[in-house]
């Protein structure tokens, strides 16, 4: 072990380990799915050659014209290569939430009550953001 790591708190080491694993999975999925989309290895929801017609529109018009998914509805359309890319984004977005969930027992065991409260509050905030139920503009 690196001799200076003795001063690094246990929760920080655990968080770093889980974060590194999540990033590896999320980033690999993000890049791999993009090349699947780019090279047409799977059928896309919106073919890339038609995208220039829509990409200068505000998102609400883009969604209305293309039928692009909102919320978690992309999950039902993972067979479309452009939406497969959203899985990589979702893994990256979920990584921090999972890391915080992993911190709960560590902080509880350390009796770090204030940090535990902050940790639980962040879990709620991230879960609300991920759920998309807050104030959808569609």
């Amino acid at each position: 072990m690196d001799p200076r790591e003795h001063s690094i708190l246990e929760e920080q080491r655990i968080y770093a380990r889980w974060l590194a694993a999540g990033i590896l999975i999320g980033f690999s999925s993000l890049v791999a799915s993009f090349f699947i989309y780019l090279f047409g290895l799977m059928p896309p929801g919106i073919p890339p050659e038609t995208l220039p017609r829509y990409w200068s529109l505000p998102v609400h018009e883009y969604v209305a014209l293309t039928g692009a998914p909102t919320g978690w509805s992309w999950l039902r359309r993972l067979g479309e290569s452009d939406l497969l890319n959203f899985a990589g984004v979702a893994v990256l977005g979920t990584t921090t939430l999972v890391c915080y969930l992993r911190l709960v027992p560590v902080l509880a065991k350390a009796r770090a009550r204030i940090l535990l409260f902050i940790c639980l509050a962040e879990i709620v905030v991230l879960a609300v953001a991920a759920s998309g139920v807050a104030f959808s503009t569609h």
Binding site: A68, T70, G93, I114, G132
Partner: protein, 286 residues
């Protein structure tokens, strides 16, 4: 704008984005800021993509950059999770509000406000370029209660550096404001987090840089969910941009050793002034 969407075939745009993001990645590293703050005004002003998608890509770009660096920073003790947690909580809540607000407001309003914000960021960078924190910060009771103190090993100095945070309520307020701006405009927030941690809260600069990145990884996660849920992500825009900035950042790290930091910072400030003025003029309809 470089050209309208019809000027080039569709496959040229990811290549142009990669090249632009690559250059921005170099400039961002040597200027000591995140790529997101340059990406949104420049790509929003020069490329045909709507600002909604550019902001979504900017958030993801800042998120990926900060996530990639965070594990090593945490393991090396150059970022403090305990310090980041309360600040990121304040920033996460307001980043979500900012993201929804940005998608609900008229584009012109967001563009004009983005221009003003980028010009203010340039001003902040100019004003704080030689600023230094007070030498002996006194820990406040909030910092004591949250355990916001510790030490890290600085390889450049060859010894451990003790630190303690102060002015925690002001720091929370600053991060709440920064989170709102970041979510609203899709900007990374290193340009503001680092001065807030270093100058306001008395955290040593190296720890401030690492903790800022960790905070961005948490704050931008919450805002990125909003853009994903609202359908405001285009893989053809965000993936080449993320890859370009990441490759550019690696080149930038090599160039950094040969370039004077103040010169690099002046270049970034000049780019921000031009990009901010362009966004403001677009917002005003010129």
């Amino acid at each position: 704008m470089i050209a309208s969407a019809a000027t080039f075939p569709w496959w040229a745009w990811p290549l142009l984005l990669f090249a632009t993001a690559f250059l921005l990645g170099i400039v961002a590293v040597i200027g000591g800021i995140g790529g997101g703050v340059l990406f949104v005004p420049i790509v929003g002003g020069l490329f045909p993509f709507h600002l909604d998608f550019v902001r979504g890509a900017g958030l993801l770009l800042a998120l990926c950059g900060s996530l990639a660096a965070a594990p090593a920073m945490l393991r090396g003790g150059l970022a403090s999770l305990r310090l980041a947690m309360p600040l990121a909580l304040a920033g996460s809540v307001t980043a979500i509000l900012g993201a929804y607000l940005g998608l609900a407001l008229p584009t012109r309003v967001v563009q004009g406000a983005l221009g003003i914000s980028v010009l203010l960021i340039a001003l902040l960078m100019w004003k704080t370029r030689h600023a230094a924190p007070e030498a002996t910060p006194a820990i406040d009771r909030w910092a004591a209660a949250l355990g916001l103190r510790g030490s890290y090993h600085d390889p450049a100095l060859g010894h451990d550096v003790a630190w303690a945070a102060r002015r925690v309520p002001a720091g929370l307020a600053a991060f709440a404001g920064i989170g709102l701006v970041g979510g609203l405009f899709g900007l990374g927030a290193g340009w503001a987090n680092v001065p807030a941690l270093n100058l306001l809260m008395g955290v040593p600069l190296k720890l401030a840089v690492g903790t800022s990145g960790l905070s961005i990884s948490i704050i931008n996660t919450s805002a990125a969910w909003v853009y994903l849920n609202e359908g405001a992500l285009l893989p053809i825009l965000h993936v080449p941009s993320i890859l370009g900035v990441m490759v550019g950042a690696r080149v930038g790290v090599r160039l950094l050793k040969r370039m004077h930091a103040d010169t690099a910072r002046r270049i970034v400030i000049a780019i921000l002034v031009v990009a901010g003025a362009r966004a403001l003029s677009q917002g005003l309809g010129y």
